[in-house]
Symmetry: C2
Subunit: 143 residues, 2 copies
DNA sequence: TATTTTAATTATCAAAAGACAACTAAATGA
DNA sequence: TCATTTAGTTGTCTTTTGATAATTAAAATA
């Protein structure tokens, strides 16, 4: 199978991932935060490590000024905290607060509920296959 | 492996897919269209079949009024055309025009270029494995 | 030490996207 | 046939998001 066909499959695949993810995350975003704010919190939560403002700005592709503004708003909602790097005091590490963690935990539980609903007809063998496939793509494509 | 761990992997996986897709599609959106408009065109292009306004509204999760407005704008840019269903004349099928197809073809070529750059170190065996994994996920998870 | 670069902030303005009410026209169904 | 539902449209207002310039403070470097 040549590269070209793989690429075409990937276009479809990406679109499917987006569609299903959309579906699973329908209505899980708390009303007090906006879409970008949700993306930022999700990014921080999944990263599980101190993330700087620059990294957020880079990865989610919002400008530094706008990232800074949204982080400030999330701070005002007591969902994140800033702490400057002791090595380089220009850098700001962003953390979820307890409140932020609690909120995101609830979000993921809701998504998991939707996910289990979606997969209720899948066999154990199916789930194993899915897991293997996810591992492969995670390593070889989405690193 | 139990469901819970698979779910956690999927959270990470989804986040990775988003990040890499973001990366591959960086700067490919033509300046004359907005982000939502790009999403709509991409949705129509990937679907490869007549799509109604309701379906666009459903899948991309924008309200009917807003979907209608964006489609009108895309029509004014000569990128899409509407054609009412002969069976049910309330329904509007949305198509890419020649211009729309040409634009999206260029977009996908650019993404493919970025993709090939990204994968230049992958072996033929890697690519085969990736393709198998994509097929599995497409069938068993992202249907 | 003086200059330049980097990380982040603040303020402001413009554009995009979302929400909602009121409407038309076609289809469905009692 | 008449009421109701469905698909889409139009207009308007608000909120969110994006873009840019100016600024601060720390770090790197000449």
């Amino acid at each position: 199978m040549d590269n070209k066909t793989l690429f075409n499959k990937l276009i479809t695949f990406t679109s499917s991932v987006l569609r299903v993810t959309n579906d699973l995350t329908k209505d899980v975003r708390p009303d007090i935060i906006t879409q970008v704010q949700y993306e930022i919190l999700d990014f921080i939560a999944v990263a599980k490590q101190p993330i700087t403002l620059s990294e957020i700005s880079d990865c989610i592709r919002i400008s530094m000024p706008n990232a800074s503004r949204e982080i400030r708003k999330l701070g005002e909602l007591h969902l994140v905290e800033k702490k400057s790097d002791v090595e380089d005091r220009r850098k700001q590490f962003i953390y979820l607060t307890k409140d932020g963690e609690t909120m995101m935990k609830k979000v993921y539980q809701q998504i998991e509920f939707n996910f289990k609903n979606r997969m209720e007809n899948a066999s154990a063998e199916d789930l194993k296959e899915i897991e293997r496939a996810v591992d492969i793509l995670q390593t070889k494509l989405y690193f």
